[in-house]
Each structure stands twice: as C-alpha cells, then as structure tokens.
Point group: C2
Chain length 892, copies 2
Amino acid sequence: MNDSSIQWVYSFGAKGSDGDSSMRNLLGGKGANLAEMSGIGLPVPPGFTISTEVCTRYYDNGRTYPETLGGQVADAVARIEAETGARFADPQNPLLVSVRSGARASMPGMMDTVLNLGLNDETVEGLARRADDKRFAYDSYRRFIQMYADVVMEVDHGLFEDELEELKLRHGVFDDTGLTGDHLETLVATYKTIVEEEAGRPFPQDPHDQLWGAIGAVFNSWMNARATTYRRLNNIPASWGTAVNVQAMVFGNMGDDCATGVAFTRDPSTGENSFYGEYLINAQGEDVVAGIRTPLPLTAAARANGGGDELSMEEAMPDVFGQLDKVRAQLETHYTDMQDLEFTVQKGKLYMLQTRSGKRTAAAALRMAVEMAEEGLISRDEALLRIDPIALDQLLHPTLDPDAPKTVITQGLPASPGAAAGEIVLTADKAEEMAANGHQVILVRLETSPEDIHGMHAAAGILTARGGMTSHAAVVARGMGRACVSGAGEVRFDEVNNKVFVRDQELSEGDTITIDGGTGEVFLGRVDTIQPEMSGAFSTIMEWADDIRRMAVRTNAETPADARTAVGFGAEGIGLCRTEHMFFDVDRIISMREMIMAVDSEGREAALAKLLPMQRQDFEELFTIMAGLPVTIRLLDPPLHEFLPHSAEELADVAAAAGISPETARQRSLKLSESNPMLGHRGCRLAVTYPEICRMQARAIFEAATAIAGRGAEAPVPEVMIPLAATAKELELCKAVIDSEAEAVMAETGVRIEYLVGTMVELPRAAVCADDLARQAEFFSFGTNDLTQTALGISRDDAGAFMHAYTDAEIYPTDPFVSIDRDGVGALVRMGAEKGRATRDGLKLGVCGEHGGDPASIAFFEEVGLDYVSCSPYRVPAARLAAAQAAIRQRG
Amino acid sequence: MNDSSIQWVYSFGAKGSDGDSSMRNLLGGKGANLAEMSGIGLPVPPGFTISTEVCTRYYDNGRTYPETLGGQVADAVARIEAETGARFADPQNPLLVSVRSGARASMPGMMDTVLNLGLNDETVEGLARRADDKRFAYDSYRRFIQMYADVVMEVDHGLFEDELEELKLRHGVFDDTGLTGDHLETLVATYKTIVEEEAGRPFPQDPHDQLWGAIGAVFNSWMNARATTYRRLNNIPASWGTAVNVQAMVFGNMGDDCATGVAFTRDPSTGENSFYGEYLINAQGEDVVAGIRTPLPLTAAARANGGGDELSMEEAMPDVFGQLDKVRAQLETHYTDMQDLEFTVQKGKLYMLQTRSGKRTAAAALRMAVEMAEEGLISRDEALLRIDPIALDQLLHPTLDPDAPKTVITQGLPASPGAAAGEIVLTADKAEEMAANGHQVILVRLETSPEDIHGMHAAAGILTARGGMTSHAAVVARGMGRACVSGAGEVRFDEVNNKVFVRDQELSEGDTITIDGGTGEVFLGRVDTIQPEMSGAFSTIMEWADDIRRMAVRTNAETPADARTAVGFGAEGIGLCRTEHMFFDVDRIISMREMIMAVDSEGREAALAKLLPMQRQDFEELFTIMAGLPVTIRLLDPPLHEFLPHSAEELADVAAAAGISPETARQRSLKLSESNPMLGHRGCRLAVTYPEICRMQARAIFEAATAIAGRGAEAPVPEVMIPLAATAKELELCKAVIDSEAEAVMAETGVRIEYLVGTMVELPRAAVCADDLARQAEFFSFGTNDLTQTALGISRDDAGAFMHAYTDAEIYPTDPFVSIDRDGVGALVRMGAEKGRATRDGLKLGVCGEHGGDPASIAFFEEVGLDYVSCSPYRVPAARLAAAQAAIRQRG
C-alpha cells in the first residue's frame, strides 16, 4: 500500500463513525470506544482519532509525520465544525477541542492531555459572549494556557500556580471560584508573559498551531519516563504506540446545571451489581480524576451509606441521572462487561466522553464474572477468561484480625482492599530504596501522581490525604493489588522534618502503621492479621476452572507448613521438593558440613549416616500431608560450597567440628569455590561423583514411604527426580543407585511401594537428547529456570545489570525469567516433550520453577501438552485458573 | 542368540584360523593378526584367542565367565596339542604356552603377560630332557614362577629378584648366565617357598589351574590403574575390553642358534624404506622389549652406521634373516602398511609372534604415506587417511639451532625426535607436580615402566640410562610426540640426594638440560632452538590435502606474529580476532580501565577516544598481513570486570588514573563482579548497553580498512562479528550501529569497501532461533566452546572437579571441550546451520574455538557442511589435513 492511500485519521460523531470497538489496536482504547459509542447512538461530542500507526511511524522516521496526515486532519476538523456549527478561530462561535492520548491498553494518567484548545485572545471573548459568562471563559483560557505551556512548551506549571495563589491572596479569596472574570483576565495576561519569558516565544494564538503542538506533545509523551516505567511494570511493548483523540469540548463547568463525573456500571471494589460513581457540579472532568476536589456520590443509596450531606446526582439532577442510568444498562449489555464511564453534563445535556472495561479488584472480578454468568450475560468460559489469575493473589493474603487490639488513628476512603502494615515513608524514591533493603513500607502522600508509580509498586500499601475512590492513588493501587486508603483528610505533612501529623499523633518516617483498604481505617503500629476466607464466588470459579482444565496443578514445597497451605489451595501433589532446603537447619548444617569436609567416601558416609534419620523424618511428614498424592523429590542440587560459611571465624568452627585444621578447611572451601557455580559441580554431578549422597537420600525416601505404607496409611507415590542431567548415562548411573536402595529397603521392611525415577530437564542438551534420556527417565519435569539461564546464557543473579535495557529495547518482550521465552526456551521444552514421548509413550511431563505459576507460561505449557504445572503454594489458585483459561483457549 | 551357541574362543594354527585381521574388535589386534598370519601361511606357533566379548561379559556379570567358555577353551587346547604333539602336564613332551592380553587398540605394556605356562615340578624335567639343557628348563621354570606369582598371585616380584641377586653373589657370578641348572633348581625351590609364604597357598602344579589363573589375571588387568590411565590419555573406552591370547611357546633362549627380536618393515623414526629392528641371540622376547639387555641391530647396514662391534642378524644368521626379510615384504604388501613385527628363532627355525601396524613419528608417517602412494602400494586418499593430523604438531615445533653454543654432556639413542629443554626431575610424580606448576621438565630415569606414563605425559622430554630404540620409553615417547633419548648409559643415579651424575658432571633436580631426540645428544643448560623446515613429504601431503578438502581453514589470531605464523602454515584468513586481547597492553589497559570506571556515556566516550587510534593501528597491521583474505573481528566479549586489577593497591592506581576515590573504584569493581561471569554482562550485551564501545570498534575497523584500500593496497573483507547474541533484535541493534559507522567512515574517506556483519552462534537459543537470527546476520561462526558450556551446563573453568569421573564413567566418550559432543552440541550446530541457511541461502558458516582444530570435530563439521574451520596457528596444518580426511570419508 502506498502511504498516500493510508487512512491515518478516523472521525466519529452523530453522523456515524469510521471506526468501532474492534479497532482498539489501531485507534487505542479510548478512540475505539468513542467511535463505538457514537455508532450505537450515544451522545458523544464529535471528534477524530489519529491512529497508533502514526505514532509508530513518527518514531520510526525520526519524529516526523506521514505526508498525507496534514490533509486528513484538516478534513476531520472540518467534519467537527460541520456537526457543531463552531469553527476554529471563529470569534463568534469558536470551536474548542480536547487533545488526549489513548493507547491500546489503559495507562491511567501516564500521558499528557490538553483541554480547551482553540482559545486565544479573540475567541475567549466569543466564548464569554456565547456562555454569557466572562469568568468561565477566562477560567477556561487560563487553564488552557497552563496545561498547554506545561505539556507542549515545557514551562514549569508551578510558576502558574504561584501566580494563581498570589492573585487569590491579593484579592483575599480562598477558593478559585472567588476570583472574577476580570481577575482572571489579568491572570491570563500574566500567564502569557510567563510563557514568553520561560519558553522564549509567545503563546501561540493560531488554533491550528495549537492543535499540532498538542498532537506532537501526545506522541512525545509516549516515550517519557513515566510512560516507559508504566509499560515496563505492565509488560506493554513500546511498539504499540498511542493514538491521539481530538474531540469537541463540552463543559461541565458552565454553571450549576453543569456537572462532570466518572462511574462504574458495577461496584469495582466488591463487584456488587449497583451503579457506582462520583460527580462534581460545575467542574471539569480532570477535577474528579485528579482528586483535587472530593467528589459526591452518584446515587442516593451511596449517599445514604456514606452519610454525606450534599445531594447525590440522582437527587440533584434526576432527569440526567435517569439518562445516564439507561446508558449504563445499554453499555453493559453491549460490551457484556463492567464499564468505567466518563461523562459531562453541559447545561442539562448529557455527553459521554469515555467508556472502557473497568479495572476492578480481584474480589470484584470474581463476583462479577460469576454473577454475569449466572445472569446469562456471558458464558462460564467467558467468566473464567475475565479473571486475571495473578490478581487472585490479593484474595489469599491475610486481612486484619477482628479480635486483635487496634488503635485507629484516622479514617479515609476504602480505596483498594487488603490490609498492609509497614514503615511510613513520604516519597516514592524512599519507598523504593527501603523496599529494596527488605523493609515493608506504607507510602504516605498528600495525593499521588504518575511520578509516584515506582514507589507505589515498592510499597505494601498507600495512604493519601486527598482524592476519592477514583483518584489516581485508588485506581493504580487496585490495579497493582496494593492496599490503599485515600482521602484521609486528617493527615498533615511536615516535609522539612519528614513527619506527618494525624490528629494529635506525630509520626516520623520509619514509624509503623497498618492500613485496611477494605474499611479505610488507619491504625498505629502493626495489627495482627488472619488468613482470608475464600468467598463463594472464589469457590465457584475454582470449581468451574477444575471442571475445565486438563493440566494438574502441583506445588513446590519442602516444609510441612507450605505443603499444608498448598493442599488447602487445591494442590494435587508436590512437583518439586528441594531437599537441600532441609539441610540448612542449625542442627543439620553441622553434619552437612562435616560431610563436605570429609576427604574420602568413608568420612562422607559417616556424616551422611547422621543426616539419614533427619531426612527420613522430613519425608514422613510430607508424605503424611500429601497422602495418596504424587510427591516429586529432587536429589541434592546446589554446589556443596553453598553450604559452607563465608567468614573465617565460622569456617574455623566448621573445621573444629570436622576435626581438621582451619587451614585445611580453608583450602577445602577454596577448592570447592567455583568461577561459575551455576554451571559447576552440582546437580546429578554430585550423585555421580559421590554416589553415597544419592544413596542416603534414596534410603531416606524409601524408608519413609514404606514406614507409612507399613502402618496401613495411604502410601504416597515418590517420584525421585535426578537434577541437571544432560545424558542418559548419568540417569542410568543414578537410577542404579536409587533402584538398588529401593530394593534393599523393601527387602528389609517387607513392604513394597510404587515409585518412579525421572529427571529434571533443565539443560539444552537434555531437551535436544530427550529421546535418549527417556530411555532411563520415567518422568520429565522441565526446570525452566535453569533452562532459561543456559539456553539464553543469562545468569539470573547477574541479569540485573542489563535486563531492564533488554526489556526496554524489546529484545525480550518480558523478563524471560517471569514469562517463558516461547521461541527459544519454549522451543526446547516442546522438543523435549515431543522427543521424550516419542521414546516413551505417555511419558509424564511437568514443569517446576517459577514459570509454573505464570499464566502466560501456563498457556504455553497447555499448548505443548504437559501433564501438570507446579508452583509456589500461594500461586496454586492462580495456576488452576490459568490452566482452565489455557484449556479454553486451546480448545479454540 | 542363546549364550550357549556363542563362539567365545577362536583358534589359529597351521591347519587354518577361525579368525582374520578384520575381526580386530572381537579378537583384539594381536589375536586378529596372529589368525591372519596363520591364514596366509606364515610360521606362527598354534594357539587361540578368547574374545573381547568375554571380557565385557566378565565385567558385566560380576567377574564371572560365560558357562560354555570352559568347554571351548578345552577344545582349543586340544587343537594346540594336536598340532604340536605336546600335551599339557605331559612329563615327556609338555605343552608350554604364553598367555597375553590383546585389546582392539595397542596398549604397550599396559597389561600383564605370563610365559612358559605349563611348567611344574614334573614337566620341567621333561623340558630339560627334550632340550637337553637343564639350565634352560629351570631358568624357564623360575621365570614362570616369578611372572605368575607377580601377575596372578600378587606376590611382590622384588622378593624373587632379591633371591636371584643373593644366589649370584653366593656363587660369585655377575650375570644370570653364570648360574647353572643346579643353581636354578635350588632357586626354584626357594621361589616356591616364597610363593606359599606370601600368597598363603602353594604354587599351582596343575597346568589347567595355571591357565585359568592367567586368563583371569589378564581380564583383571584391563581395569588396573595403569590401563585405566592409558585409556583415558588415549581416549580408549573401557567397554572395548581385552582379548586373551594363548599360544604355544617357542624359545629364543635355547642356545646360540636361537634368537628373538622386534622389527619394523620401514624405519619408524624417519620413514625411510629400509628394514629396521633389533635382536638378541639366546634370549626371550621380553628381554628385547623390556630394554634390560641392549639389543643388536638387525641389518649389516645398521651395524655399519651404528659402529657396533657385534654381528647383526643379517651377518650372524643369514638364512633366517633371509626368511625374515621375505616375511617383511609379504606382510607389507598384505597389510599395505608399515608393520611392527615380533619374531623368535628356535634352533634355527623362524616363528612370527606378532604383527601390527607400527607406531611411527609424524615425520615417518608423512614420508611413508607419500612414498607408499608413489610406489602404488596405496592411493593418495589412503595416504592422507594414514596420517594422524594431531601428530603433525611435532613437525612444527622448534629443533636445536645448529649454530647455538652447546655443551654435549653425553649421548644416548635417538629414540623419539624433537628437541626439548627443561628442568631435571627424577620421578614421574615430581614431573607431574612441576609441570602442573608451569615448569618445563625432562624426566630422567634409569628406565621407564608403565607406572611412569603420567610423568612422561607431563614432561617435555624423556632421558633414560637403559633400553633401546624399542624400549618402553622409546615406544611411548614416540606415541606421545615427546622427545626421547634412551640408553644413555653414562647417566648414573643418586636417588637419596636426588642427583644424577653424567661423566664428571653432577646434576641436581631443577638443573636445566636439553635433549635432542633426533640425534640422541644431551646438552647442559638450555640450547637455542630454530623453527623447523617443512620436509618435502610435508608439502606434498599438504598439497594433496588442499586438492581434496572442501572446507577452508582459517586461524584464530590477534597479533601480527600469530597472523604471520598462520599464513606461513597455510591459513586462508582469520576466523576469530578476539579484540579484547588488544586491550591488555600496559599502555592500553589504563584507558580501558578509565572507560570502565566512567559513570556515564560521556566519560566512556572520552576514554574510548584514546583507544580508537590504537585499535585502528592493530587492525591496519592485521589487514596488511591478511591482504585479500577475510578477517573476522569479534567485538568486545568478556565481562568488563576481567579488565580490572584484583589487588587493593592496583585498584587504587586505577582510581587515581580515573580521577575517582579508591572507595568509588572499589564499589564500581564490586558492582561489576558477577556470580556467574560466563553468563553475565558480556558479549553483545555490552554493545547493547554501551553502544559507544561498539561504535568505537566499528570505526577502528573501517578506518583501518579504508586506509589500506585508499593507499591502493589489497583491501581486506572485514567480517564484523557480534558475540553472544541470542536474538535477532540484539543483532539488529548492533548492526545499526556498525552500519552507520561504516557509512560515516566511507563518507569521510571517500573510499568504499565491502564488509559483512554476522554473529557468533554460541548460545543454545541462537541455534534454536537461527532462522530468525539469519535475517540479520550475514554469516554465522559457531562458538562451540561457549555452546558446549551452555548446552551441557558445564563451566569449563570448574569442570576439573568432575570431568575425569565423567569421561571415566563414559558419560562423555571424550572431554566435550576437546572433541565436540555430537549428539548434543553437534545437534545444535546442525540445527543452527540448517535453520540459518533456510532463511538465507548460502549463508557463510564457520566454526571458531578449539573444536576447529580437532580432527574428530572437523569430521563432524564436514558432515554438517560448514564453509570453514578456524583454529590456532600451529593447528592449521593439522586442520588442513583433517578437513581433507573428512572430505574423503564424507565422499565415502
């Protein structure tokens, strides 16, 4: 296609739309939905969308536009003019527009917006005349200058705010509304002077220049630091680009018959099927979202619950509310999902400015999904697909113990559910720094802004003094699954001394508080928590998921506590029991070190004999908890050096215990240290060189299993897993030791049990030669952590130095240690699975390692046909759901 | 096949043979060739071979024999009895046999042998009567007891030797021959007492018991420490097993019409087509091989050259010599190769005891191959296949400078060619220890034995006081390519004080000497050496190889000296120029460290600007030497930490040079250090995160190339190689930097040159995704060192702790860093080659890294269809030959 024939600009309005909601990738979410709403006849101010493709080309071509863009924009402006009757730069009836970003995925507040574009020294007078309100016109103009100068001309917005404060002081008023049109006219003149001084050029008076300046600013904002960080945290590729939406302005701030608001078609916090939202009379939309004025509830019922004394929209504007409530029903049926709406009422007329699928808490997502399926709005499959498996984590974590002693120090809005305790920090940077050092922190801010994202991510919870339930802090915290209490107005700040005051309480950075995002309460100190109760919707969704999924879900666990938790969450066995963790106990590490310091196999065997009864005890406990379920036990895996202490003093203690000189101990430790321990003397290499270690572990496993079976209890099926094998011969050697020990134990006890011997496929060679390995292995468990390290040649411990650069440059779409690298590591997993099953029909295949709990990776494992995934206990519900989603998608 | 129907035993003799020389794997080399010689009518004492399969089963079944073996052995013994007329245990005409090992590959002296089996207190009398020589009979009996007791009954042979010395002293004789039959009869009685005392059981009198004892000892010797070491050094799998050869005895020691000797059909040292060998009158074969008596030359010509005064065999036994000379011609024509023969003359009758392809020096192998091809005995292909490429190394190394001042201190036999200088060591253990610490050593021994193998391997050269040209020392040294002077009788030992005396010279361990294995001379101190001249046969073979091979051979070089050497050896370009080596110069490392210590890209660029002219200069020199040839330049590869000093003092110097505090330098160094540097921030990850480094290197390359082309000289074709890539995106990013710098330099200079940008395929992901990488890469060079590390998950630096155990257990047939692991790493190379060429037809494919100089790996690369291999300069001739051999074999 020739560039000149490409459509870059898509109009929408009362006369129809060029686009629709299916064109989200091209038009961004906002643009696609504006087109869709116009298309189904909802009242949407006319406008147009410049496609994301322009953004991509803009960056590909050194920040220049396609040649034909200018003409297409001019045509689209003309269509707005035709529909509204207003014209750009017309002093009688000036067209004013908003210019907003709109990417494929929602990126709240990440990019820049300009409102009231089209005002200049002439058109402001026309606006004043038409609105019959000079104050409104000049307030709009001064807001426009301030936004435009900030966003497009890079003038510090603080300069304008200082002037505004100064003006209010001078005239003795406390609120913006106290300023008159004449006051604001003077302010506009001052603003223009500031712009010229700071930017070195006058404020542009031609609306076309203004428009192109704003379009450029939106495209440029795609690559700013905030947007880049947000994308990285949310795995959004830079290549998607943003669209630009230009739309005729409507005003919620032209008087008391005007309003603006945001709403959710159901309660995004609980999922309850009730209309939920906030509005402000005589205000612009940004006022609600930015959380600067605390907004009012939408419905009478909400006001009744909240106990406020100002009227809800339902009471104050019953007619318009009625229209809005109809729109609510229409949109939810149309989109078959809970919608997040923005609207403006201009002189009694309702305008819809945005609709999108609303963000929701995990609890709300569950409830909505189940209820919508039960209402017949969506299918069960669709209900399962609606829920982000990772978000389930939120529901599994502790809430406050209702019986614990608590000292409430203040109350805010319940902005994002969950309880969190931590040390107070007052800046995002500090939050990040403390969290990196292992502290749990609560970020306390007057209000949050997109610049605070990294700190919110690092914090366990967020507390703000200003802002409502749809403020930046609330929306972002819900998205991240962080507990949040917003609008806690009693919190005051002493930023010089890094203190906050709450009523008569003085709190310094580092003091501990607890917040409850489900109630809005704030407590002094750390409050005890309890395990959450699973909601009815949770159980329903898990049941539905279990009905549909093909893959089993196991857990990675070596302690009885973890195993019990996992069984509670529905784990169907243990997929990875890392036996080395069992050796780090204080009383065991001594024998372990004695074994390591031994100079011959006799010495090693003596030390191993001390470890045997402890290992057997470990396994007995695990096997009892996992009664009747498979338990995969990995033989000792890490390099022996990991068990040795690093300080000279501790090493001397070890030497004394082992009966050797400190110098000998030092030499032995030195000899064991490695250049690349990840690729060193570990895994089955230990079993090959020191078969006595393998023998002890095998004996412990079989003694434990036969002991349980011998008591008549349900016997487990131990799956003995040989780590880090690359060749069939290694498996043959280790299997011979394991089998002979199994035979010996069964002969001694007279109890026979079933067991399997298999291997972890975690080296590229093992995948490439899987047909050969399967001759020995009775099961494979893909160890995708190490397989990623070796296939990609990246040490996970050292990747920090370059992984950000790598994901930013989209060398890997996401961190390959979080989601499996399908093309590389994934291809090896597929090869291993296919070759393994070619040798041994029905070979049991699983995956352990962190990809086993990652939904994107689970989808891949379903495609490959693995039998099970294994993940950490708290990820088990997410994995059950993700496995069901994968099965639904695979079924197509 | 049922065990009972398997043939375990293969007879040979005048009436025909069950086996032939094609059955080497089953019968071992010795057994197969004895059968073959019998088959073509040569005089071979009758006997039989127990197959290697029995050995394998013996070890597989807990050292037990197949049930039917006993019967088959009895039948075969009966056949010997029938042919010889002698019978086991017959007091009138006793059958005596030898029992010898015989593996598929020659393992000189590695395993045990028993002679004169069948003697007991009765048969010794029969033997005395038949030989009419009591002395001979009892001498045979006492030798038999001594050998059997040592080998089968594990009685220390020193005890017998002490008694023999004692006996000689008592009777005032200096030589064994001075003892009478009666003396020896007494000695036999004493020997039997020793056996009973030491072994706790009497010496067995039943020849059948003796036979089974000896067979068991041979099989057991397959797993003794000497044999295991030898196999490891020579890559012989334990699974091959040894055969056992039982053969009627003939005696070279029944009087002066008897003799024994060894011979080569051509000179194994020079390759000259002349009969070469040694013999002893009235001696048993072991006397020649063991080097205890210094033997006499075979031919009159050799005696004339050597200047000895005892008669050669040609002179002393002209008839028998004539027969032997005919056998020589017959065998060489039959086997079409130089043969190594053992023979015995018993009372004027010639018996052939062994023939095998003879070991030879590299020079001899070359000459023989060329001459045999020219004689029409073999084809040119066969001539090329005859030469071990690795052995060519010997010919490329220095010889003594004839003009250098030298002090000859003694003279021995020229046992293995080549010159070597080093510190004197007197034991094999010490040789190994010193060599491990980086010393070059000469192992000086009275004579060597199989126990000394590890020391010979560690030494640069070997000097012995006793033994001839076919002594243990000589044979093993030639096989290993070590210089050796044997039989230097003037060397005497003071083992208490670790000194040797040579004439009036006293030398201590650690003093330096030089030996010339081509002349037999020994010099005081270190003598200057010169580069070898390539022989005519060398050039001929290289020409023939170049005619036949398909793959090009390049070299790995970064210094002008290495590049010049490689071009002299026939390198056809540089396959790997490791640019980091260029930064280690004293004056450069400072700027390099400054670059590393820089905190931002400006600081890095300032330091890089200092490195640019030096890099350009390096490349200009290399490009000039490699005029018109391709030069592959790898961008900076190692982690930056490798360039930093490790001591605190040095780090302080770096800090001072970089203008930062020592603490800052320490912090930066700490930050750069990595847990697994092999998998860390290195390779193209450096270029992705610090594009300025890539840009500087690209500029240096293109400035150098355009400067040369601009002068009108022959321009090189630079091939810029991006290391450690795993994704196409990395290549895209780096290639953009390289291409833009190339354009800039060509625009600045007005000179256009050709160049390629490609990548090193050294990560499993790169091989798996090679189709994708080939979209960016214009060539691939397989970096099989790192590919082996990552595919197998083995750090080369750390593999020492377990690699011996791994090759011993045959987990890998050979060290996978020496010869490519075909099934794993090889499969990835094949995948990479096929996928790469599927995307880009005719994609240039090469290999760098040490497998590029390994013949077995080169054979694999030919199969895969790579375009070239690249190896170190001294390996270039070997690679040329190996590539030709691979092409011949591939053509099939």
